[in-house]
Assembly symmetry: C2
Homo-oligomer: 384 residues x 2
């Protein structure tokens, strides 16, 4: 089977872009990724774009065609894929399969979301369409509530503390200080988190990722093209994707995202490596508890041990396994469809040694992108 | 490269299913396709689902996870793809690329839409999100108006008549008489069409495809699995996908869907055949004028000659090239996300000789699925 590499990356600043629309953000990220790969528009053979809800956020579907059009591409195939907040990870995966199949040699995979243009509808209600709308959201169980239940149970079962949860935010904000694309470049303390407004007990405002506009894109190439065009290709050595019950209440174990376990297993098998070989990871910290669960589901620590692991600094830059060096969803921001691609961009920068003050010298990295409360999970393993 | 075949098909009755929801329809179609392939649920390795706007129609995104979950699949990868009314065709294409890449051996590709559950929002407004919402729909140019402009110009340039347009509906309704899954099994006359209410001059109500609920699914398999499991595999010998400007007003020629021309060219090249070799086709007749344009863009007739070609019966069953033997979008119904898959099901039934009174004895068939006013086009060529 053909090998696939990432040879270019580009993203917008994440934040509130009141003066720009979705397509404008997508075109900026795509153009930057093409330039980063030293390519021209005409070299791109196909486009995959992840976005959660163009329909409800901006009243626009058919964004594959629209983004290709406004990017000035000439009639190339362009496909939108969606799996709620894992839409970006899936766009990467479909681009990877496209090249693996022999269909294309150079493909752009992007993710984008414009969340702040919404009119009368509430953003929380749009995000709730990633859950089983009629059986979760209709009863008031929006995502802060769903993740709060997981947090409560983790605290009850494993003596995890609110301080340990808070530490995820503190670390991710610290990492984002050195990421100019991050939404927040502001140091916070454990006390700041604990004293922020309660949104769904035990989660406070600063346990939650923010509302963000932004776009991210990467260029994928076949082995032959990658070696021709690029001195520092980053190889996709494993791609895993799995689903689980869309509803939290349908799971035997509320504290295991089976989709993440299954997706990680596929990616580890393909890469022929084990969790201990991973040197940095970008994981899906939509809420602080989600980062704890990710460490456990990905096999970095045993079930129940993530709180202590984080509290003792082992996930910091310089620690045993740096997690969310980009600032994560919490501090870099979480434009839902773009997140999966932005995670991959951080991994690529780390593997290239281009992450500046965030550099970890990693040679093997993992990205972990979740949709809903774990209905979808996408895991990629990347290597120098 | 690996060959890919279709080894099972299944669909719901198309129509108004007031008592059923989207997922229920999707599960029926999927189950039927698995049974048709003599497989069991556990044999399915991945799922692709095309749907245009779960968000705006039923307030539910993340349908890849949800449909996999409610189908009882255990953690398989499940991906939603969207390109407005070409979502189904793209789901097939992504499933095809997945198998070609070596990632999977047996995959289900489905399409579904539930259009009649909508609340206060209008269906026409949801469908308009397939256009450039801010630059077309906002000025009143919804799809009946856009296709009416194409029809007017075709009439002006090529002396095409309203009767010739009407004949598309008459033929498609006639074909649907023998399709028990069709929304309408009712013969109509040219006069019926001409006397139906005008919706956008020159298009009348009976020039337009209806609002429909429905789902369709097919099982794809690698060559090895297809030969093992199936006596009558239908091979995907060409897959084309292209985009164009999302807005009609951005095109040099309003009467050529460049996306269709480009997608067809890819599919013909891969199949090593020419338009004259195609023995039946399912084309995207969202409005009668769209069937005329399709015949021209796919190379079955020269530009401007489609009206006469249709009027002289050459697209009827028994004619030179039977078109839309299923009844087409007009009479079979048009649950937008499901249409691309339902077209492929008709082609498979024809190639297997399982289309009953609609049989054409075709050995090579083509399917043509369009998003918006031609912003996306997906073409597949299928062979016995």
């Amino acid at each position: 089977m053909r090998k696939v590499a990432i040879i270019g990356v580009g993203m917008t600043k994440f934040g509130h872009h009141w003066d720009r629309d979705l397509v404008n953000l997508a075109v900026e990220a795509g153009s930057k990724s093409i330039r980063d790969a030293n390519l021209h528009q005409k070299d791109i053979q196909a486009l995959y774009i992840g976005t959660m809800s163009g329909g409800l956020f901006i009243n626009q579907e058919h964004l594959g065609s629209m983004i290709s059009d406004y990017s000035g591409f000439k009639n190339i195939p362009s496909t939108r894929v969606e799996a709620a907040c894992a839409s970006g990870g899936l766009a990467l995966r479909q681009a990877y399969l496209d090249i693996k199949s022999g269909n294309s040699d150079i493909v752009v995979a992007g993710g984008v979301e414009k969340m702040t243009d919404i009119g009368s509808y509430s953003i929380t209600k749009v995000l709730a369409t990633a859950s089983d709308t009629e059986r979760e959201a209709a009863f008031g169980a929006t995502f802060p509530g769903l993740y709060a239940m997981m947090a409560k149970l983790h605290m009850y079962k494993y003596k995890t503390t609110e301080e340990q949860l808070a530490y995820v935010s503190v670390k991710n904000h610290k990492n984002a200080l050195y990421n100019k694309y991050a939404q927040f470049q502001k140091k916070i303390s454990v006390d700041d988190v604990l004293n922020s407004p309660l949104i769904a007990d035990p989660l406070k405002l600063l346990d939650a990722s923010p509302i963000t506009d932004g776009a991210a894109a990467v260029i994928l190439a076949s082995e032959k093209k990658a070696r021709e065009l690029c001195d520092t290709p980053v190889w996709i050595s494993g791609s895993g994707h799995a689903t689980d019950s869309i509803s939290l209440h349908d799971r035997d174990d509320l504290l295991t995202l089976r989709a993440s376990v299954a997706a990680a297993k596929q990616a580890y098998l393909q890469s022929k490596i084990q969790p201990k070989d991973i040197q940095m990871a970008e994981v899906h910290d939509c809420f602080t508890i989600a980062e704890l669960l990710a460490l456990e589901d990905l096999g970095f620590v045993k079930k129940g041990e993530s709180g202590k692991f984080i509290e003792t600094g082992q996930t910091e830059i310089g620690g045993k396994i740096p997690i969310n060096t980009s600032g994560g969803l919490k501090a870099k921001g979480h434009p839902v469809g773009a997140t999966g691609i932005a995670q991959v961009i951080e991994a690529v920068l780390q593997l290239r040694g281009d992450a500046g003050k965030r550099n970890t010298n990693a040679e093997i990295a993992l990205t972990h992108n979740v949709g809903g409360s774990g209905g979808t999970s996408v895991v990629h393993i990347l290597r120098r």
